[in-house]
C-alpha cells in the first residue's frame, strides 16, 4: 500500500478533464446540428437520388389517318435492351446472348449506364427478349423495356407526307421546337410527324423505383402512366396516293392533287420514295448511307423541295399578264411559221412547221411558243414577275410540311444581286416560255392550276384535316388555325375565261394535253416540257435519243371539272420527255381515280339509304 496518498493534485486535474469532455461532446452536438438541421434538405435530396430511380415510359404517338380514316401511321409493340449499371460482366454476358451491332461501343455503354439507363440494343427480336428475360438473375442491371414503335402500314406510299420519326439529336435536345422532350425520345424528324410533333407525342409516363445500392428494384414508389398523343386526320386520300405511286413506277418526279375550294391536299407524292419504317428503329449506318447517297435522292420531297423550270405551263402566267396589261385580247391572232427572230436570235416553236394563225386560246391549247415569244417581247420582265408572284410563285405556299422551298421568279434586280449582270431582253423571251431562270415547285403549280380553275381563289395548301384528341391534354397546334380568308387574284372575268378555255381545249380540243381526257369529265389542263440544258448543247438530236439526265422534264397541270373544279393537279416527271406524252396520262389516271372514287361513295351511300328504307 502506498504511503504517499495526497489525492488533491489528481483531483484538481480531473476538473480540467471534465471541462474537456463536456466541450468535445458539445462540439459533436453542434456538428450533428449542422448535418441534420442546417444541411438536412441537401442530404435528403442526395439520399433520394441514391435510392429513387425514375424510369421513363414512352408515350405512344397519336395515329395519323387519311381523310377516310385509314391508318397511315400507328404503333407496334417493341422491346429495347437497356443497361442500368456499369457492370462490364453483364455487358459481356449479353454480348453472347443477343446479337449486338458490330460497332457497339462497350466503354460508352458502361459510362452512360452509371448515369442512367443506357440503350444497348433497340427493337430486339422476340427470341432475344425471351433469352434475356429468362436469365434476369444472371444479368444484373440488364433490362428489357417495352417501347411503342412507329409503324407505317402504307410504307413508302406515305413517306413524303408523314415523314418519319427518329431519336432526338443532341442539338434538338433543349431546342424550342422540341421543348418538353427527354433524351432518348423519338420525335418527328420530317413531314407531318415533325410539323405536328407536339400534339402527336403525348406525354411520357414515369415509374419511380426504389433501388438498393446494387441497383436491385425493391418496389415501385410511384407510377404515372404515359398518355397517348392526339391523333391527326389528314386530307390525304390513300387511294389517290396509291394510284399516283403506281403511275410513277420506274419514274422520278412529283405529283400534287388538291381541292381548289379549300386548299386541302388530296395526294402528294415524290418519287422514288423510301420506306419510313426504316427510321422507326435504330437505322444502321449502312442503310442510312445507302439512302443519303442514292443518286435519285429518295429522301428529298420533290413536290415541295424540287425546283424545276415550269416550261410551257408558265405560258398561262404570261398570257394572264398580257391580257391584264391590255396588250392582247383573247381574240388577238398571231401567225406562227415555226420560228421567230427576235433581238437577232432565232427562237423555235415546238411545232417545226408552225401553227399558222392562232388566237390566244388556240395558242395555249396547242402550246404555241411563237405566240408566247411575241408576248414576251411586248411585256417587261418586271410585269411578268409581278403576275407570277400574284399567282404565288417565288414564295413557299405555306403547306404544313417542313423545309418547303420558294422557287425563283427572276427579274433584273435578282440578276444584279445573284450574278452581278444586267438583264438581257432575250432572257425575257426565254422566261415567256417557262425557261431561263424561272423555277417552280410542283406544289406551287398545283396551286396555280387551282387558282385558274376557281377564277382567282388562292388557298394555302394544307394536309391537316382535323384533330382527334386522345388521353393527352390538348396541345396548342402551331398550325391549327388555318388562313380562313383565302387570297384572291383579281383578273377580269373574260381573261379568266380565256385561260380556262385554253386549258379546256388543250385536253378536249385540238391541244397538247389530249391524253388527260376522261370520258364524261370536263378535264382542263396545260402541258409543259422544260429543257434541262441549253439548246446549243442539245444540238439537233431528238429528245428520246439523249442520255436520260439531259432529257426534258415533263409537266402537266390541270383541274376538273371545268365549272366549280373539285380537284387541281400538277404532275412532274423528271427527264420524262414530253409533258403531253408522259405527264398528262399520269394526271388522267389520278383524276379518273378521284371521280371513280366519288361515284363509288355515292353508290355506297345510296345502297345504305336503300337498306335503311327497307
Amino acid at each position: 500500500m502506498n504511503i504517499y496518498d495526497d489525492l488533491r493534485p489528481l483531483q484538481r486535474r480531473l476538473v480540467w478533464w471534465r471541462a474537456l469532455f463536456i466541450l468535445l461532446f458539445a462540439g459533436l452536438v453542434l456538428r450533428y446540428w449542422q448535418l441534420q438541421v442546417v444541411r438536412s434538405a441537401a442530404y435528403a435530396r442526395q439520399a433520394q437520388a441514391n435510392h429513387v430511380r425514375p424510369v421513363s415510359e414512352a408515350a405512344p404517338r397519336g395515329l395519323i389517318l387519311d381523310r377516310h380514316g385509314r391508318i397511315i401511321a400507328e404503333n407496334r409493340p417493341s422491346f429495347n435492351l437497356t443497361l442500368e449499371e456499369g457492370r462490364p460482366e453483364t455487358l459481356r454476358a449479353l454480348d453472347g446472348l443477343v446479337a449486338l451491332p458490330a460497332d457497339a461501343d462497350f466503354e460508352a455503354h458502361l459510362r452512360r449506364a452509371r448515369l442512367g439507363p443506357a440503350l444497348v440494343k433497340e427493337d430486339l427480336p422476340i427470341e432475344e427478349v425471351a433469352k434475356v428475360e429468362a436469365r434476369q438473375l444472371e444479368l444484373p442491371g440488364a433490362r428489357i423495356q417495352f417501347v411503342p414503335r412507329r409503324y407505317y402500314p402504307a410504307g413508302s406510299l406515305s413517306a413524303h407526307i408523314v415523314g418519319h420519326v427518329g431519336r432526338l439529336s443532341e442539338q434538338q435536345l433543349g431546342s424550342d421546337e422540341f421543348a418538353g422532350t427527354e433524351r432518348n425520345d423519338y420525335v418527328g424528324q420530317s413531314g407531318i410527324e415533325r410539323i405536328y410533333n407536339r400534339p402527336l407525342m403525348g406525354k411520357n409516363g414515369v415509374r419511380r423505383f426504389v433501388v438498393n445500392s446494387r441497383g436491385r428494384r425493391e418496389r415501385v414508389l410511384e407510377q404515372v402512366p404515359p398518355l397517348w398523343g392526339e391523333s391527326v386526320q389528314l386530307s390525304i386520300d390513300l387511294d389517290l396516293q396509291r394510284v399516283a405511286t403506281e403511275a410513277f413506277t420506274d419514274k422520278a418526279g412529283a405529283v400534287v392533287a388538291l381541292d381548289p375550294r379549300n386548299g386541302q391536299v388530296l395526294a402528294l407524292g415524290s418519287f422514288p420514295a423510301y420506306d419510313p419504317n426504316r427510321f422507326s428503329g435504330a437505322i444502321d449506318g449502312e442503310a442510312w448511307r445507302v439512302l443519303t447517297n442514292d443518286p435519285q435522292f429518295p429522301l428529298t420531297n420533290r413536290a415541295t423541295q424540287g425546283r424545276y423550270a415550269p416550261g410551257s405551263t408558265f405560258k398561262l402566267v404570261v398570257a394572264a399578264a398580257a391580257l391584264e396589261e391590255g396588250l392582247v385580247t383573247p381574240e388577238t391572232k398571231m401567225s406562227c411559221k415555226g420560228w421567230v427572230r427576235l433581238y437577232g436570235n432565232v427562237f423555235h416553236c415546238n411545232r417545226a412547221g408552225g401553227h399558222g394563225s392562232v388566237d390566244l386560246v388556240e395558242a395555249l391549247a396547242q402550246s404555241c411558243n411563237s405566240y408566247s415569244f411575241r408576248l414576251g417581247q411586248k411585256l417587261q420582265i418586271e410585269t411578268i414577275a409581278h403576275y407570277a408572284r400574284l399567282f404565288g410563285l417565288g414564295t413557299p405556299t405555306g403547306i404544313d410540311l417542313p423545309h418547303e422551298v420558294s422557287g425563283l421568279v427572276p427579274d433584273p434586280e435578282w440578276k444584279k444581286r445573284a450574278r452581278n449582270e444586267p438583264w438581257y431582253a432575250g432572257e425575257t423571251i426565254s422566261v415567256a416560255v417557262g425557261q431561263g431562270a424561272v423555277l417552280v415547285t410542283a406544289l406551287q403549280m398545283a396551286q396555280l392550276a387551282a387558282t385558274i380553275g376557281s377564277s382567282g381563289d388562292v388557298h394555302r395548301p394544307t394536309l391537316f384535316l382535323r384533330r382527334l384528341p386522345a388521353g393527352a391534354a390538348p396541345e396548342p397546334y402551331t398550325r391549327m388555325v388555318l388562313d380562313p380568308a383565302a387570297r384572291h387574284v383579281g383578273l377580269r372575268d373574260g381573261h379568266w375565261r380565256a385561260l380556262q378555255e385554253g386549258m379546256f381545249q388543250a385536253v378536249n380540243g385540238v391541244g397538247t394535253a389530249r391524253r388527260a381526257r376522261i370520258r364524261g369529265i370536263d378535264v382542263s389542263g396545260k402541258t409543259g416540257t422544260s429543257q434541262v440544258a441549253s439548246r446549243a448543247r442539245l444540238a439537233a438530236s431528238g429528245d428520246a435519243d439523249r442520255p436520260e439526265h439531259l432529257r426534258t422534264h415533263a409537266w402537266f397541270i390541270g383541274y376538273a371539272p371545268r365549272v366549280n373544279p373539285e380537284i387541281a393537279i400538277a404532275v412532274l416527271v423528271e427527264h420524262g420527255g414530253r409533258g403531253g406524252r408522259v405527264a398528262a396520262p399520269i394526271a388522267q389516271q389520278v383524276l379518273k381515280a378521284y371521280f371513280d372514287g366519288k361515284l363509288e361513295q355515292r353508290d355506297q351511300r345510296a345502297r345504305e339509304t336503300t337498306v335503311a328504307l327497307h
Partner: protein, 363 residues
C-alpha cells in the same frame, strides 16, 4: 465475499446507463441487419452482452487491489499472446488481430488495452510525487509501447492509437513537466512524416486522402464517408423512423451494424436520437469522472481514469467519424456497435470503474 454494505454501494446509475446504451444498440443492430444476409445478428449480441455483464460482475467481486496485484502476470500473458499473433496468427480480413479460440475468436488487442490501463495505474500510483520525472515517463512509455507496437504490427492502428491516447491521458493526469510535454509534442510532430512514409500502407493513406476530400473518389474510398453523412443528414430533426432509413435499409451505408451504427441512429432517429445518445455517453463519462474524484486512493483514480479515457476516446472518434470529421478508422462505437471483443472489453473496464466506486469508503 460481497458484503451487504458493498452491495448497497454499487453504482446503479452507471449500470443503468450501460443497459440503456447496449439496449438501444441492439435495437439499431436489429434494424441495420434486416436487409442484410444475417438478420439474426442481434441474438448473438444479446448473448455477448450477457457474457460481458457476467464478466463485469466477476471483476466487481474482487477488490481492485487484488486484481492490480496480478498486473505483471497479466501483462506478460498479453504481450506473449500478441507476439504469438504477430508470428503465427492466421490472417483474417488481412490482419493478425484475431485469436482463434475453440469456441470462437477473440481480439487480444481489446484485452491489451485493459491490461495497459491496469499496468500503468499500478506504476503511476507507485510514483510518490505530484509530477512524473523524465525517467518515469520513459519507463511507463516503454511498457505501453511494447504492446502498442505489437498491435500496430498486426496491423491494427486503431487499437494501437487507443493505447497511445490512454498512455498520454494517464501521464497527463499524473503530471508532466512543461518541458517534457513540449518535447513529447516535438517528437510526435517529427514522427508523423516518418510514419506516413514508411509505416502506413496505401489503403491507410487513401483513407486519409479521402477524408481530406471525400469527392476525390466518391465511389471508392470516399464512399463510406459520403454515404454516412448523407444518412445522418437525411435523418433530419426527428429521423425517418425505426427500420425506415433508406440509406441503411437499402445498403448504401457501409457496415451499418458495426462501425457506422451511429449513422443509422442519425438516419432513423434524427437529431433527437443523436443528442440523446451523446448525452447518455456524456452522463456515463461524467459519472465515471465523479467516481475517480471519490476514489479512496491514487490507484483507484488512475484505474478509473484509464478505462474512462479509453472509452471516451473511442466514442468521440466514432461519433466524429460518422459525422465526417475524422478519417475513417475501424473504431466501433463502444456499447452500441455489433461485435464481441469490444463489448466485453468495455464491460470489463466498467467492472473496474464500478469496483473502485464500490470500495471508495472501505478501509
Amino acid at each position: 465475499m460481497l458484503e451487504r454494505q458493498l452491495w448497497r454501494s454499487i453504482d446503479w446509475v452507471t449500470i443503468l446507463g450501460l443497459f440503456v446504451a447496449a439496449g438501444f444498440g441492439l435495437l439499431v443492430i436489429y434494424s441495420a441487419s434486416q436487409s442484410g444476409p444475417t438478420p439474426e445478428l442481434y441474438k448473438a449480441q444479446i448473448a455477448r452482452f450477457v457474457i460481458g455483464l457476467s464478466l463485469m460482475f466477476v471483476v466487481m467481486l474482487f477488490d481492485y487491489h487484488t486484481i492490480v496485484d496480478r498486473a505483471e502476470l497479466l501483462y506478460v500473458v498479453i504481450v506473449g499472446l500478441l507476439i504469438y499473433l504477430v508470428l503465427f496468427g492466421g490472417l483474417r480480413a488481412g490482419t493478425n488481430r484475431w485469436l482463434e479460440l475453440g469456441f470462437g475468436t477473440f481480439q487480444p488487442g481489446e484485452l491489451a488495452k485493459i491490461t495497459v490501463v491496469v499496468f500503468l495505474a499500478k506504476y503511476f500510483s507507485g510514483v510518490r510525487k505530484d509530477q512524473l520525472g523524465t525517467s518515469e515517463v520513459l519507463i511507463a512509455g516503454l511498457f505501453a509501447g511494447v504492446p502498442l507496437i505489437l498491435i500496430a504490427l498486426q496491423p491494427d492502428l486503431g487499437t494501437a492509437a487507443t493505447i497511445g491516447i490512454v498512455f498520454t491521458a494517464m501521464a497527463l493526469l499524473a503530471g508532466v513537466r512543461t518541458k517534457l510535454l513540449l518535447f513529447g509534442v516535438f517528437v510526435v510532430v517529427l514522427t508523423v512524416p516518418l510514419v506516413w512514409n514508411f509505416a502506413l500502407r496505401d489503403y491507410q493513406k487513401e483513407r486519409v486522402y479521402s477524408f481530406l476530400d471525400p469527392a476525390r473518389d466518391p465511389l471508392g474510398a470516399g464512399y463510406q464517408s459520403i454515404q454516412s453523412m448523407i444518412a445522418v443528414g437525411a435523418g433530419g430533426f426527428v429521423g425517418q423512423g425505426w427500420l425506415e432509413g433508406t440509406q441503411s435499409q437499402l445498403q448504401f451505408l457501409p457496415t451499418p451494424h458495426t462501425d457506422f451504427i451511429f449513422a443509422v441512429v442519425g438516419e432513423e432517429f434524427g437529431f433527437v436520437g443523436v443528442v440523446t445518445v451523446i448525452i447518455l455517453y456524456l452522463v456515463i463519462a461524467l459519472r465515471s469522472l465523479e467516481t475517480a474524484r471519490r476514489a479512496r486512493d491514487r490507484l483507484g483514480i488512475y484505474l478509473v481514469f484509464g478505462v474512462l479515457s479509453m472509452f471516451v476516446f473511442q466514442a468521440l472518434y466514432n461519433l466524429s467519424m460518422v459525422a465526417g470529421l475524422v478519417p475513417i478508422k475501424g473504431f466501433p462505437l463502444p456499447l452500441m456497435s455489433y461485435g464481441g471483443s469490444s463489448l466485453l472489453a468495455t464491460l470489463v473496464g466498467f467492472g473496474l470503474i464500478l469496483n473502485v466506486r464500490m470500495r471508495c469508503f472501505v478501509n
